[in-house]
Symmetry: C2
Subunit: 518 residues, 2 copies
Amino acid sequence: MHRGPIIATVTAPLLAGEYNAYVTRRTLLASALAPLAARIGAQTSPARIQRWDLFEIALDGPRDGNPFLDVPFSAEFRQQHRTIAVDGFYDGEGRYKVRFSPDAEGEWSYVTRSPHRELEGKTGSFVCTPAAGKNHGPVAVRGSWDFAYANGAPYLPFGTTCYAWTHQPDPLQDQTVATLRDAPFNKMRMCIFPKWYEYNRDEPRLFPFPRTAGQNDYTRFVPEFFHNLERRILQLQALGIEADLILFHPYDHWGYALMPPEVDDRYLRYVVARLAAFRNVWWSVANEWDLVKGKKPADWDRYFRILQERDPYARLRSIHHSVVMYDHGKPWVTHLSVQGDDFAKTGEWRSAFRKPVIFDECKYEGNIPKRWGDISAQELTRRFWLGTAAGAYVGHGETYLDAHDILWWSKGGVLHGESPRRIAFLRTILEAAPQEGLAPLNPAYYPCVAKAGEYYLFYLDYHQPALADFTLPAEARFEADIIDPWEMKITRAESTYSGKFQLRMPGKPMQAVRFRKV
Amino acid sequence: MHRGPIIATVTAPLLAGEYNAYVTRRTLLASALAPLAARIGAQTSPARIQRWDLFEIALDGPRDGNPFLDVPFSAEFRQQHRTIAVDGFYDGEGRYKVRFSPDAEGEWSYVTRSPHRELEGKTGSFVCTPAAGKNHGPVAVRGSWDFAYANGAPYLPFGTTCYAWTHQPDPLQDQTVATLRDAPFNKMRMCIFPKWYEYNRDEPRLFPFPRTAGQNDYTRFVPEFFHNLERRILQLQALGIEADLILFHPYDHWGYALMPPEVDDRYLRYVVARLAAFRNVWWSVANEWDLVKGKKPADWDRYFRILQERDPYARLRSIHHSVVMYDHGKPWVTHLSVQGDDFAKTGEWRSAFRKPVIFDECKYEGNIPKRWGDISAQELTRRFWLGTAAGAYVGHGETYLDAHDILWWSKGGVLHGESPRRIAFLRTILEAAPQEGLAPLNPAYYPCVAKAGEYYLFYLDYHQPALADFTLPAEARFEADIIDPWEMKITRAESTYSGKFQLRMPGKPMQAVRFRKV
């Protein structure tokens, strides 16, 4: 345990594995020596962190009173002409932290800010080195409808959902991570707050606020709760999985859905201060916002604005509905996070909002006695293809009955279903597609996502033509693959095609056809 | 060939088989003897026809000029206080006919009306005997949402579609009839006018109007054309199949979709005079009315009103759309004839229009390169169940590629598909259901058509719960059958059920569940 102020340098990774987050741990002798320390840091062996990794300053400061409320703490990070102000947070045990994820290579310096003398004016610097390994940077919207990593690599969301996996016993959390290692998913929808719902009636070991006798102390946070969350976010990062963090949700019995506005806002600022620097974090303002009672539309707008104001990285922001859709035209929404299976709406939404569309919940593969949790693997596979061909992205979830009520959709654990393999197959197909500018072909005889003149991916759903009509540009030739999404087979047609033509098909339903320019 | 006036009595059936139509053939010596003849008819051996069968008066009359236009001819049929005026028609070769289908047992008399002396004032009588055999009478709407035969037997439409079957070579027409003998269908959508469309580029042997050098003589009809049509309608009747006669349609290259209004109206009056007395006739004012160019909404209203005014039996009247729905709230529409697969709309339409809903075209089982003609047998079976569980009726069609372009949907012939057996299976299930008052259960967790407290038929579609929740009335017990619509298997659950309960299911998609009060 460190006492007294400590400032930045790089230490060992928090976790073994491929993630790239680092935490600073260099101890200063005394706060009075801070300017010297900063000079030392700069002159001798400045910390080196990869671009988009996490740099952390940790200082010891006041422990009396309520540091969560009483001690403002932040830092300014500078590179040449740029200054980025970043909120710090109290991490308990007298420890104050600021986290920063640099987006540009080269030398950065910082200075801390606080009305408290021991936290004020601490300076230092670090060198931001090129990203390496699997560090592609954070994901953002590219153009209007695509996602890409900051290094330019495309990002095609293939999400899954384990709402409450970080609130389960440690071995189960570990099992979830192990499962994800072999699964095709690169995004995880997960709640910060624990969840109280069918198959989810367990009290978690840790809560975000101190809780005694059923009462929350909303004036403080529980750092240990967040340490676990952060560890899991980093594990996801190491697996190339974006953490789509759900900030509010209705499935609550502890009071988190009913907090006073000032607590909501403080919670958001605290979460942003802690988590925004993790490059795989996305903000999902709510799961099923319209089912959260007692909040007005203006509250949701305010949450978004707090994220906009406090998150220096502008991480992706969305809000998921149940029945009533939030106005995704509002400027703080970066992409649509949609419930339902009305994939045919995608084109309209793309045009109206000019944002990517993710069907994050189109029902789950499973067999529980719930209409939203009992669709077949065939149907979920079909929905992935329907959504893809409509120009949207589709998310997975799984809800098979389990003797111990461990359902993937909520608690994680292991996967039982037949759709993930098929989702993996679809992912390989899309990863081999043009990296930008796929758009629904409209009107298409069968749903088709295409990059005009180059690439066409049709999904024929329940249609089973023996001969299928297609019209492609006449000025190029295309090779054709007939794809069986369930059997995961790709059959190259013998000829190449151009203009208006008929393609001989296997005459069975649920097939796809891909055309690629020769 | 009869010369001179002839009047009514019963002769042998037009056709061998089980139909019950009869034509009168008693010859009168001279028109001057008509009163005597009528007396003779009444006193000696009055014609006897079954209730709802067809009684025909045939008189010889003027052949000069244009009898189709120049010679009004009608009759009044009387029973006790009732007088029913019925239009006659010219059947060529100097023959004038009036057809009548009595709806009540007992003695009926008639008198003919015409400005022409040889056709005026001919009288006669017949005895209407009880219906027998498979003669259940015409179908009408019972209550708001059911159909029933006039004798009270329920009628559950299980239609198919052979738009142009009566315009094919005779052997093919015969083959269609033979196929229907073993098929599960009890309604046939068929056009009066020939059809010009893909897979249908044949010139028929017979046309409704005389046609020379590509020109129609709209002032005359071709009786032989109608003789064939009538023969086929009677063959359908013998098989228990309603003839849903399409009066106008857009797939034309002869001019029938573009006739002047007065020709349209004369055509309708002629068709009604000829065909309304066939008890299995329904009027479908149009197939895809909204694709017929050059007609205004008021034209379609007028056609309906002509049917209302001229058809003494008020045969069922509908109009089928492609994209734009006709206002089915208009009083002359007896039921909805719908295109599409938006079965979830059924409840809304039932409430709004308080009329039965038939999805006459929800795409066809087949493999042609057309999105409307290439759905799988599984999908069409699914649609029959979805529609049924939504409280609608669903129609069949089939479009498999054929070396001779004989596709069932248009030309008839033989069936190739896998859905008819499953449709037959569904039909047996519905025929064993309560005969009146099935309605969609709303809201139901899974689509369900029910007679509250008695009977519930759920369709689970792509859902595959291992345990399914149901809530039935607590004051009764129900036996449960799990139905596999594709495998055509019914598995009785071991227990009986009441109130709120869970039923163990096979955990596979596309299953149905039936509950019947013990």
